[in-house]
Symmetry: C2
Subunit: 362 residues, 2 copies
């Protein structure tokens, strides 16, 4: 088992990574959390796969457990579901204090973290991410959220978990599309911070897609290390350091939104967003064309899209104005200079953005 620390003074916590570690979860939870009543948020599908293992582990260590199933859809990240959960939590949290466990992917993690953040102005919670996307990205760093009709993640809090517990064996049950969606975030880390990881991905495409032993553990470990370091330096995205994690996300989010979050998965959309950002970078002579080409090859190699389909330029541009990162009509892009080197740029001319998106539209 690997252990990575997120350094945030009194809010520091560990990310534990290993294959088949879920059965030992409670032992580690007992060290990180002073309470013994676990309010687990998950969905029926994940419960079926991992519920029993988690329950047995918790009960063996004397925890009281309550499982709460939410629908397996992004729609669960709503005020309606959050209200239900918080009321259930208040009912459960009597006499002895309760903490929250998020067992699932990004939707479960964001939602559970948010209810833990607002209930009693904050109670402890633990992330047990079960998708690659959640293990390498959304479970780490405390960004919690629910959606509004007007946009994703518009309501939330930055609120750190007490522990992130990544069992890479869980990834074996992902659908190929879920796996690819997570790999898009892995590619992102490689591009913004880790040329060695980028080369590893190029050289081990097949093994990774076949979930060969050790590959995913290596990847999750490497990405968690990068995310932990960035979050430790800039928890609240105030210093411009955490911003680079948004690489590919400005246009990626707009593509998701333009498709009402049902056409493209998050990973597919940010793959396209990263390519648009790379195109902008090379138009601005920040990066070389061959860098974009390497990115495109890798993205395509993992079965992720490199062309935007069924979405108009107009829709994408209109949605990109809704981005949280917009400020006073100025856009903000994370651009690249090379694999592993980024640059933040404000106020990219709209014409250049349009041109770079248009290039990808088929």
């Amino acid at each position: 088992m690997k252990s990575i620390k997120v350094n945030l003074k009194s809010r520091s916590y560990s990310i534990l990574i290993g294959s088949g570690i879920l059965k030992d979860f409670a032992k580690y939870a007992a060290c990180s959390i002073p309470y013994r009543k676990a309010f687990v948020v998950t969905n029926a599908c994940i419960y079926k796969k991992f519920g029993k293992t988690l329950e047995l582990s918790l009960k063996r260590w004397g925890f009281l457990v309550k499982f709460n199933l939410v629908p397996d859809t992004e729609k669960s990240k709503s005020f309606v579901t959050a209200t239900k959960l918080v009321n259930g939590l208040a009912l459960f949290d009597k006499e002895q204090r309760a903490f929250v466990i998020a067992l699932g992917g990004g939707v479960i993690g964001d939602l559970s973290g948010f209810i833990a953040a607002i209930y009693k102005r904050g109670i402890p919670y633990v992330q047990i991410p079960t998708t690659l996307l959640a293990q390498v990205d959304s479970a780490i760093g405390g960004k919690t959220a629910i959606d509004l009709e007007y946009g994703k993640n518009l309501v939330g809090a930055i609120y750190q978990p007490k522990l992130v517990f990544s069992d890479t064996r869980a990834l074996k049950s992902l659908t190929p599309r879920q796996l690819r969606s997570g790999l898009a975030e892995v590619i992102k880390y490689a591009i913004i911070k880790d040329p060695k990881l980028f080369r590893y991905l190029e050289n081990n495409l097949e093994e990774i897609l076949k979930l060969k032993n050790g590959c995913l553990e290596f990847i999750v470990n490497r990405c968690s290390l990068i995310k932990a370091r960035i979050v430790s330096l800039d928890e609240k995205e105030e210093k411009g350091i955490r911003t680079i994690l948004n690489f590919g996300h400005t246009i990626g989010h707009a593509i998701e939104a333009a498709n009402k979050f049902s056409g493209y998965s998050h990973g597919e959309a940010i793959s396209l967003g990263m390519l648009v950002a790379a195109d902008i970078s090379s138009c601005l002579k920040l990066s070389e064309n061959k860098t974009t080409q390497r990115m495109e090859n890798l993205i395509q190699g993992f079965g992720l899209p490199v062309e935007i389909k069924n979405t108009s330029l107009k829709e994408i541009i209109s949605c990109h104005y809704l981005d949280k990162k917009f400020f006073a009509n100025r856009n903000r892009f994370v651009l690249i200079k090379d694999i592993g080197k980024t640059q933040i740029a404000d106020n990219i001319p709209l014409e250049l953005i349009k041109k770079s998106i248009e290039k990808r539209i088929r």
Copy 2:
């Protein structure tokens, strides 16, 4: 105009206090807030009294303004109202960024602060408290909240405003009962931190109740100073300093809850809570009987209750277990040694609590 600073590094802000200052609000807001779109939360009654003055001030300084009226009741502190407001905010917050103004008493302040805390993981907000209770207490210190069926303030965040703007002239329109409710918190400050203020209250009972010029400004200023100092030292109630502000609140809240928050006003309930805490203190020989007597005289002098009516001991005890301050079946009380001197005590024997409550029941 007086200015008091709450010192919290990058989250520092000013409390401005004066009579008739509302018309100049926008001038000060323009210095504290970088945005020019004001999303004002208030209720119809307060809007009628102060809406126009605020609107004129904001418009004169080039602000765009949207007023949002919520029902004039504690029931507005709900997920339902919060959801509506956040959706309205998302719709308003386009192209140019918006900030929130809470124009009203504790309910408006708690609710508005909460939506500002969670929308986009936190946007700026300003408190314009219009009741004595809000000016001396709830508008300062960033405690924001909504209620659940299972208890008051069970959902919330600690999230500081950018400015607290207390126009003491607004207090002239309070009903006598609203005024008394605020005076209970004033008495609290005097007891926990300020023997001189206690004497001032004893000596100026009539003038204060008649809202004589200068009295309320003096009181609001003095209490804001105490609260600002305490919050600056212990923003998140982690160091045991902010805890003393809960003097009278453990049993006070239980009395409110036992009456389903409709029998006693908050100030009335904490008046009783303070007397119970004083009774416990004198039973434990921490304080002298004459201290309790002075408190009782002052509370009664302001027309606040000193006897618990229509509420059974059993109901109060049952509700006091729901308190957020409860931990692992241990209660926590703020007790007094003398006017101006407190002591925090855990695990007060239940029999002593019961005896002290029973003494006040008629």
